[in-house]
């Protein structure tokens, strides 16, 4: 059900937002459900807000992605990555493998190692710390962007201690920042349908706030396009905005478009074939307009490819994410992109847009 606005009302609302008005949930939904010329009008407004808030540079981080295992006790409906013990393409890296991968990353000049994995049945809270230590051994000085509230909850539960203790352990082991993943859609009725094995919204929020409170920043994400409504997307953004008001701990927002082809939800007819291009454009644009307290919005080239990523950089996004060097999760779900975005291609994209490309660290300091 769309809530249409006439052109005048839309123009006034967009002008208000550019002037500092904070969008209500209802207004957010009306923007997300825009069709026709309104879509590009919303994108243009988001682009102007991006320029004011994040400036002209298109940023990226030189990072290495590292998935330690695809063994997972969960089988979330939108995931093509999760495997059981004995599956032919199940894998589990040893700590030596992790150390070696970290060394390789360091030799590539990365400033960040990004590691998340399946919730392996044998893992404890200490396993996650050991993984971080192995990364640190192999790549001292490289920022470790790892885990997420689900992993933290899992490790804590497996070891029988609190999430605060788990976070403390990870920080001692070298954790630089938490991934704001496992957010999916922060609405419990949706989570029950698409990822019933995951922690609930309130628990996700609590752990993120806990981490921020301990001086561990994180990203924020949404995984959209698997059947949730516009209102549910806005509710999710509302949760994030409120956390950011409280803690200021989110470094950026990363919209992740549902990759459907090889996932249980789609194959069983319970999810659409992902978001449409219009929805992708508006998710980024409305995020920029709605999240007035988060400076950076990423365009996920892994999910969407370089062409759409370029358009998203014109619709509110300012960051291209990471070089990655290796990617398993999206390709397992059926994504057809490369596992690596060459900074030379990033330069081309930025130049084509008439903006400078700038390398950043995980925490958005500039790298020269």
């Amino acid at each position: 059900m769309t809530q249409t606005m006439d052109d005048n009302a839309l123009g006034r609302l967009l002008a208000d937002v550019e002037g500092g008005h904070r969008l209500t949930a209802e207004e957010g939904v009306s923007l997300l459900t825009a069709t026709g010329p309104a879509v590009l009008a919303v994108a243009a407004a988001a682009d102007r807000v991006r320029a004011a808030r994040a400036g002209e540079a298109v940023t990226f981080v030189r990072n290495q992605n590292l998935n330690v295992t695809n063994l997972c006790v969960n089988r979330c409906g939108f995931c093509g990555f999760s495997r059981r013990e004995g599956d032919p393409d199940a894998f589990m890296l040893s700590l030596d493998d992790v150390r070696e991968a970290a060394r390789l990353a360091l030799s590539r000049g990365v400033t960040e190692i990004c590691t998340v994995s399946g919730l392996a049945p044998g893992f404890t809270g200490e396993t996650y710390a050991a993984i971080l230590e192995a990364c640190h051994d192999g790549a001292p000085g490289v920022h470790l962007h790892a885990g997420n509230p689900q992993e933290v909850a899992y490790g804590a539960a497996r070891s029988g201690w609190s999430t605060a203790e788990q976070l403390g352990l990870l920080r001692k082991a070298g954790l630089g920042s938490l991934c704001g993943t496992a957010a999916e859609i922060l609405v419990d009725s949706v989570r029950r349908r698409i990822c019933p094995g995951k922690i609930r919204t309130a628990e996700w929020a609590r752990i993120i706030v806990e981490a921020h409170g301990m001086g561990i920043p994180s990203t924020a994400t949404i995984m959209y396009g698997s059947g949730e409504s516009a209102a549910e997307r806005i509710e999710h953004l509302g949760v994030l905005r409120e956390i950011q008001d409280e803690t200021g701990g989110f470094t950026e927002f990363v919209p992740l478009s549902y990759i459907h082809a090889r996932t249980p939800l789609y194959r069983s007819g319970r999810a659409p074939a992902g978001a449409t291009g219009r929805e992708d454009l508006l998710m980024t644009a409305v995020a920029r307009l709605f999240l007035d307290n988060i400076d950076h919005i990423q365009a996920s080239w892994v999910k969407l490819g370089a062409k759409l990523a370029t358009l998203l950089l014109l619709a509110g996004a300012d960051d291209l994410g990471g070089t990655l060097y290796e990617e398993h999760i999206t390709s397992a779900a059926g994504g057809s992109g490369e596992g690596y975005l060459d900074p030379a291609e990033m330069v081309r994209i930025a130049t084509d847009l008439g903006r400078p490309l700038a390398e950043r660290t995980t925490l958005y300091a500039r790298v020269d």
Partner: protein, 262 residues
């Protein structure tokens, strides 16, 4: 199915008879279906081989069942660019002449542009300008089909002579500017086989109005490196249209509406 669109390489053994036989055979097997085939390049090629004027070749093809011509092999209608990207193809003047001949004989055609291999914005506009000029004269173009260069498996790219295709910005502007510039064309197609369904959705908001065909097969795009260009299910088309708040309609090759809300 209301259209069959045969397109092949310019086979060294093909003659006019090859094309005539193909058309007659298709017409026998699928009477009443529009046969949308042959580019000005192929017409020029067989005319050269047969020692006949292109006008006569067009006539023979029409007799054999040709319905509409493909406005392909246009690539970029600038000879300096053709010299780099397709040196063996007929030149710009020949392409235009054959198209005009076809239109004057009542054989309508599409118009295309293959952009993103390294030509300039000026080149693209020169190309559009030539098409606009022909359309003013003949009114024979049914639509423009911008074809975004699919680079991955192509010799030009591998030899370092071409860019990795157009950027998303260039794709949007190609559609939008084509719509604004070609004021005598009613239809601008968005080519899902080249740019994927997500881009297509956005391009339909930027001047595009047509989704092309269900295809069932597109080895040209797939071989060049496009991932999944074979078949577009009308159900997916309906989803894209509904999401945009627009109506899906099935059309004939020459844009008669055959079915509203299929």
């Amino acid at each position: 199915m209301t259209e069959i669109c045969p397109l092949s390489g310019v086979h060294p053994d093909f003659t006019l008879e090859s094309y005539v036989n193909l058309l007659e055979w298709i017409r026998e097997v699928a009477p009443g279906v529009d046969i949308h085939t042959c580019s000005p390049e192929e017409v020029s090629y067989v005319a050269g081989r047969a020692g006949l004027p292109t006008r006569e070749v067009l006539g023979r093809l029409r007799e054999a069942g040709l319905g509409t011509l493909q406005g392909t092999a246009a690539e970029i209608l600038v000879d300096e660019v053709r010299a780099v990207i397709c040196p063996k193809k007929c030149d710009t003047a020949t392409w235009l002449r054959v198209i005009r001949e076809a239109h004057r004989m009542g054989i309508r055609s599409t118009a295309t542009i293959m952009y993103g291999a390294g030509e300039s914005a000026d080149d693209r506009i020169t190309h559009l300008d030539l098409l606009r000029g022909v359309q003013d004269e003949t009114g024979g173009f049914t639509e423009l089909v911008p074809l975004s260069y699919v680079f991955q498996n192509t010799p030009l790219y591998r030899a370092g002579l071409a860019l990795p295709g157009a950027t998303g910005r260039e794709d949007v502007l190609m559609i939008a500017v084509a719509r604004l510039y070609l004021d005598n064309f009613d239809h601008v197609q968005v080519s899902w086989g080249k740019v994927g369904m997500k881009m297509v959705s956005v391009l339909l908001l930027a001047g595009g109005d047509d989704l092309g065909g269900t295809m069932f097969e597109d080895e040209v795009s797939v071989d060049a490196g496009a991932g999944d260009a074979s078949y577009l299910d009308p159900k997916e088309m309906a989803r894209i249209a509904a999401d945009l708040g627009r109506r899906l309609c099935r059309r004939s090759t020459t844009y008669e509406i055959l079915e509203a809300n299929p």
